[in-house]
Symmetry: C2
Subunit: 91 residues, 2 copies
């Protein structure tokens, strides 16, 4: 997978990320990875499902991975945050 | 997997669900499925990661599945909601 085919999911509307996925797949490459942390994990699942069901019927979930990252909070303390990576593949 | 070994994730604190997972695994059976919808999806990932990293080193993610369900809103309209199922297995 080329480095460009990663879409980082944050707090923008779902449709913004769906468009990013579609344009990543049009720019070449048959896979795109969605990456999210914390509360944005739910949005990443929404983006995968909406893109698949509404925009690209031949898109499948190739792999889903969850994990934990350490992040520094505002107060300088380390805390754990959950992560998800969803790899979508155009068949 | 027996029907009892499903933990439905809602809006309670993460630790409540971790305890539910641990007791499901102590009550027999080596797998437990976490199921969540919408905003609770992020919590389901937290529950899987915290249980694995803090309470049960020999617990692994066996399978992760995402999907879409139709739900009726308060106004009687149908809307789509994303779902996740995370199956954890004690080795």
């Amino acid at each position: 997978m080329s480095e460009e085919n990663v879409v980082y999911i944050g707090s923008k509307p779902v449709m913004n990320y769906c468009l990013a996925v579609l344009s990543a797949l049009q720019g070449g490459g048959s896979t795109v990875a969605l990456k999210a942390r914390g509360r944005a994990i739910s949005t990443a699942v929404d983006v995968a499902e909406v893109t698949k069901n509404r925009f690209m019927e031949n898109l499948n979930v190739q792999m889903i991975e969850i994990g934990t990252e350490k992040m520094e909070s505002m107060e300088g303390q380390m805390r754990n945050v959950s992560t998800i990576t969803i790899v979508l593949k155009k068949e």
